[in-house]
């Protein structure tokens, strides 16, 4: 079995764990905050999207590494 394929799968698979948890926490807390004071919903949504974008970019880095591993294996 080609180890670089395994490396690619591991890179994105392991790299997605942290951001997945992080995005879950951000989304949950945002909904919590929205429940407490719905009048600032717009601001919360904006901040939530920003926070998710930051957390998500970690997973995207892992994805880029995975693609690099994939494209250099030949």
């Amino acid at each position: 079995m080609d180890l670089s394929i395994l490396g690619m799968a591991l890179a994105i698979g392991l790299g997605a764990i942290g951001p997945g948890i992080g995005i879950g926490i951000i989304g949950g807390k945002a909904v919590e905050a929205l429940g407490r004071n719905p009048e600032v919903g717009g601001q919360i949504r904006t901040l939530m999207i920003l926070g998710i974008a930051f957390a998500e970019s970690i997973a995207i880095f892992a994805l880029v590494i995975a693609f690099i591993a994939f494209s250099t294996h030949k």
Binding site: T46, F70, S71
Partner: protein, 283 residues
């Protein structure tokens, strides 16, 4: 079987400069935006309708966001944020238009046909060899896509990121003065943070768009991959296309969100460095 390339493919050469398919699509989206701007500007009405009202909605959205970040002073950064947003969203959406990525220019007809490409129309334009001998010759693909989503190329997104960071710091120096601006960097780690912002800006956009393109490619060819039969025939194409439809919608959403995030981050990073008169009186 699936040809996935991180690099944009070179279509031809203008002088010594390679013209890539991502570059071509970026120009196309710029052209589209210019045409829309001219059409809206020429047909300007006091009571907006149609296209003008959409543009004004986007403008008002960014105006309120800039005012949230920097007060009335932030209004001068609305055009900047909106330019980033519009360019990125148009390039991202151009990336999922049928034909972008699937329309190919054939270099090696025999290999391309055996890979399932259906040739039609005029004979393909060959990418000419680079004019100077020392220019590196790319490995010759059997076929290259004519269009490629502009942000599915790391060069485009890094360029956008560098433009954003340079403007953020230039505006910081201009509004707060050089001495005050440099005071942000008493801790040398801050310099690393600023440099890494270029990377995160660039990689976030590139990663999202490129991953989206790969996702669409995989979903569109899912039937072919699963059955192991390379069938360019109509039924497989239709099934693949039907499977890809929900993901196309996802990509439209992601494309808009990423453009929004980019513009929002530019505004919020600007507010870290730009000194506004209002913020001095508020705090």
């Amino acid at each position: 079987m699936l040809e996935i390339s991180i690099k944009p493919e070179v279509l031809g050469y203008i002088g010594a400069f390679p013209l890539t398919n991502a570059q071509l699509t970026s120009w196309l989206s710029s052209l589209l935006l210019i045409v829309v701007a001219i059409v809206v500007g020429v047909n300007y009405k006091k009571l907006p309708s149609g296209l003008q009202s959409i543009i004004e909605m986007v403008y008002e959205f960014f105006q309120s966001m800039a005012e949230d970040a920097m007060g009335a002073f932030g209004r001068r950064f609305v055009p900047l944020a909106m330019t980033f947003f519009l360019f990125i969203v148009v390039s991202n959406w151009l990336g999922v238009v049928p034909g972008v990525g699937s329309l190919v220019s054939i270099h090696d007809p025999a290999k391309a046909v055996s890979a399932g490409i259906i040739p039609f129309g005029a004979p393909a334009v060959m990418a000419e060899a680079p004019p100077s001998a020392d220019a590196t010759v790319e490995e010759q693909h059997a076929y290259v896509p004519v269009f490629r989503g502009g942000n599915a190329d790391l060069n485009t997104t890094l360029a956008l990121a560098i433009i954003a960071q340079v403007i953020i710091h230039a505006m910081g120096i201009r509004t707060a003065g050089l001495a005050h601006h440099l005071a942000h960097f008493k801790n040398p780690l801050e310099i690393v943070t600023e440099l890494s912002k270029i990377l995160t800006f660039g990689f976030r956009l590139f990663g999202n768009v490129f991953a989206g393109e790969v996702l669409l490619t995989v979903m569109g060819s899912l039937v072919v991959v699963l059955t192991g039969k390379l069938a360019p025939a109509l039924p497989f194409g239709l099934v693949g296309g039907a499977i890809a439809i929900p993901f196309v919608m996802l990509e439209l959403f992601v494309g808009a969100i990423q453009a929004l995030v980019f513009a929002m981050l530019v505004l919020s990073f600007l507010s870290l460095f730009v000194k506004t008169d209002q913020s001095a009186s508020h705090h």
